[in-house]
Symmetry: C2
Subunit: 472 residues, 2 copies
């Protein structure tokens, strides 16, 4: 299992030394090889042990990315693209060493097209920075994975988050992107038109490819008008099943809900403690409605009827913008709130996604499994999509506990797969989920390998991720 | 230009003869080699001259598809997947001969998951058949390209149509598909979960690949709840520019319009004649609103204010379901209505798509170009997406007129590309648009070629389309 440090894959020592020398002489102190920088770029929110790169490069333009990729390619040196370091499955580890491309200096907004509801940005900008930039435009970028991730990283992991149920994921919201391919060529995957039938969908091929096919240097995103009215709040339910059934009916009735998030009873305890709320410690749905004033009122009313049918309520409204912000900040701080349940531990955050009809069953079985395994692991979910997360609070010094957590995570993934689900709804494969890829995709994995081999024959782009050695 | 018959590409005579013999002995009269069947499968709604296949095979199961693909692969014989024959750019021509796989016998609904709002179907079912099947479920499949296309064909061309502005295109509405790859392996591209970050997006790679990567044998589709209320009608505008500006504002204001279609003045004349309406012969928007009773009323009211701002109106409402059906039938019959403008001609139907901010300019310049070229060519468009169609009514016996039409189409595509648009919003590349692919995608074309080469090394899957010889 990926959680145990793997034997280091073969390193191309000579190539790495040559490339670093050339990069350093070309880019000066924007090529860093100090221990602290290297560790920091391997040490992210993942539970997988750090495998630091040999150097960290901070490009400032796409031409610099091209130049540096060519230097690495000539020496067959791994390139690990790095956004904000908020990925969870070891995506930015460097199992074969190599050069981390930290894209944080490339964080400009290149254009905003108000009439077309789109913008083009460099990959290092974070979603919060982008929304701050857009604040007076009447537009916003909705995808919100919780962490203040970079747009390039979000595109790479096909991120989604709390309001994907209404606005889609990165798959639907990236119109086009530009990437430097392993041979140094710059490719723009699509025009700025809303749709196209012109050839293979290179945009969607790169979205979710986790840096294994190229280094993203710009992203064109769909934007959305800030809704005239927003309302929301928290609604408790007697059981997870009741909450899930309310979600299914909400989706089936076509209520265009913007956010519908489940937090289980243990998760509510963590949120209450960390964010100083006093919500009931039973399964709750966090909701948000977007629309016109009357539309939002109508949605809330209809949802109220649905909740009542499944014995939900009473609904706590967060009417003022401030209250809403506090509420969603609490939801976003869930990762950190988890630690209040077991201070001093590390968090193994994992996610799966199943057809919504199987969601209640999947969560209930998972809760029972947690209970039985004696782990401390709250559950939270973007349940409108059938996607949920389990955060296992772990003592990383206790091998027996690690083994229990490993067995639990493995069981969770197999459960999701047996219910026609996926081993990851939004975190990505990275290193941590490679072992489930074959079960999920069967011979599709060979197609992926053929594509990777065709586009990156020397396997320099983020090697050891998605299709790495731990796969089979 | 593709409109002129191209020199026939090299044919593998021996392989074709062997494969046909083996297929005939295995499948009996489900392998047809008669002249009429062959011609019929090359002769579609395209303007490009027929290039008939050598045989037509009617598989009934995916195992039969696998078996037949293996026979063709062993003999390096082209396979041309065939849905309803409603594609427009020569997609089902057989420039190197080979075997047409007519999927019409594989037209079953395999499952409908009411709670998950999805269904799995065989590729030969048409969208009308599917919606007929769903009629009592409260669900519908929204994608509507006008023609009663097959679901497999729609997936292959990344089809969209009148209500993509609200419900998305095939890109967003195919959850997963199963395809037989060129080596006979069956691959399922994704699980039935709503979203996933597990590896490369094989679904989106196959959607829009026009049969050049594999033969689709089943498709899992998103379904949508039939809206509680629907209303719509026709709104005339003084100019194309005014109509386009109303569209831009409608989209910007976030009115969740289900359909917003432009028909230009000449197009309105054709519709009035063919469908016996008496709408004003000025640019008109055909509209439809979906939602709750009050939501639809609010949308219509807001749109009314937008239209007024751009001197649109008076709005003709089609309140009864019957009237609405008549209205949209007229819109769907546009291809046929065109012929009333110039009886006895053939139609060259082409489409482009631009960012919506450039739409008015693009259509106005195109109208001027039509005027100057002396062609008869009405315009209709899915303008909420920036997508529009021109139908050139042509005398195919007049080489001078064909040359003028060719020059016009070339100019139209270059105009769209110069406005950050695409050479096809929804028809696909087929044979007819290969010449624009390099200008649109630059080095991206080489990526597409690498993928094609990796997955179909002997180029047996629909050769001569998208990446065929006419490309460079």
């Amino acid at each position: 299992m990926a959680i145990a440090a793997k034997a280091e894959a073969e390193r191309n020592e000579k190539g790495i030394a040559t490339a670093i020398e050339r990069l350093a002489s070309r880019f000066g102190d924007r090529l860093q090889t100090g221990h602290a920088q290297r560790e920091q770029h391997g040490h992210t929110t993942t539970y997988i042990p750090t495998q630091a790169p040999d150097a960290v490069f901070f490009p400032e333009t796409q031409e610099e990315v091209q130049e540096a990729v060519r230097i690495c390619a000539e020496n067959q040196v791994p390139i690990i693209p790095f956004g904000a370091g908020s990925s969870l499955e070891g995506h930015v580890n460097a199992p074969q060493g190599g050069v981390c491309f930290d894209m944080s200096h490339m964080n400009r907004v290149l254009s905003v097209n108000q009439e077309d509801l789109d913008c083009t940005v460099e990959p290092g900008i974070t979603r919060e920075e982008l929304n701050h930039y857009l604040r007076d435009s009447g537009l916003f970028f909705p995808i919100d994975p919780g962490a203040n991730a970079s747009i390039g990283g979000m595109a790479s992991t096909r991120a989604s988050g709390t309001n994907a149920v209404r606005y889609g994921t990165m798959r639907e919201n990236v119109l086009s992107l530009t990437a430097v391919m392993p041979d140094g060529r710059l490719v723009t995957t699509a025009r700025r038109a809303r749709k196209s039938s012109a050839g293979y969908d290179l945009t969607r091929l790169l979205v979710g490819s986790e840096g294994t096919l190229g280094v993203i240097t710009s992203v064109t995103l769909r934007l959305h008008g800030i809704p005239q009215a927003i309302s929301g709040g928290v609604c408790p339910f007697p059981t997870v099943e009741a909450a899930c059934n309310a979600v299914i009916m909400t989706i089936q009735m076509g209520i265009p809900i913007a956010r519908i998030e489940l937090v289980n009873a243990l998760g509510m305890r963590a949120i209450n403690t960390y964010s100083k709320f006093d919500y009931p410690e039973s399964p709750c749905l966090f909701l948000e409605f977007h629309g016109t004033e009357s539309g939002v009122a109508e949605q809330a009313e209809t949802f109220g009827e649905v909740a009542e049918e499944f014995s939900g309520g009473p609904f706590s409204w967060a009417r003022a913008a401030e209250e809403r912000q506090k509420l969603w900040k609490a939801r976003h701080d869930f990762y950190w709130a988890g630690f209040t349940l077991r201070p001093g531990t590390k968090a193994l955050a994992t996610d799966v996604c199943v057809p919504i009809s199987r969601l209640a069953e999947c969560i209930i079985e998972t809760e029972a499994d947690i209970e039985e395994s004696g782990l401390v692991a709250p559950i939270v979910g973007h349940v409108g999509d059938g996607n949920f997360h389990v955060t296992v609070l772990m003592d990383m010094e206790d091998p027996e506990e690690i083994a229990r957590a490993e067995a639990f995570v493995s069981g969770l993934n197999k459960r999701a797969l047996s219910m026609e689900g996926t081993c990851t709804g939004e975190h990505g494969i990275g290193q941590g989920k490679m072992r489930y890829l074959r079960e999920e995709h069967g011979d599709g994995v060979d197609l992926m390998r053929s594509i990777k081999q065709a586009l990156d024959p020397f396997n320099i782009m983020n090697p050891g991720k998605i299709l790495g050695p731990a796969l089979d």
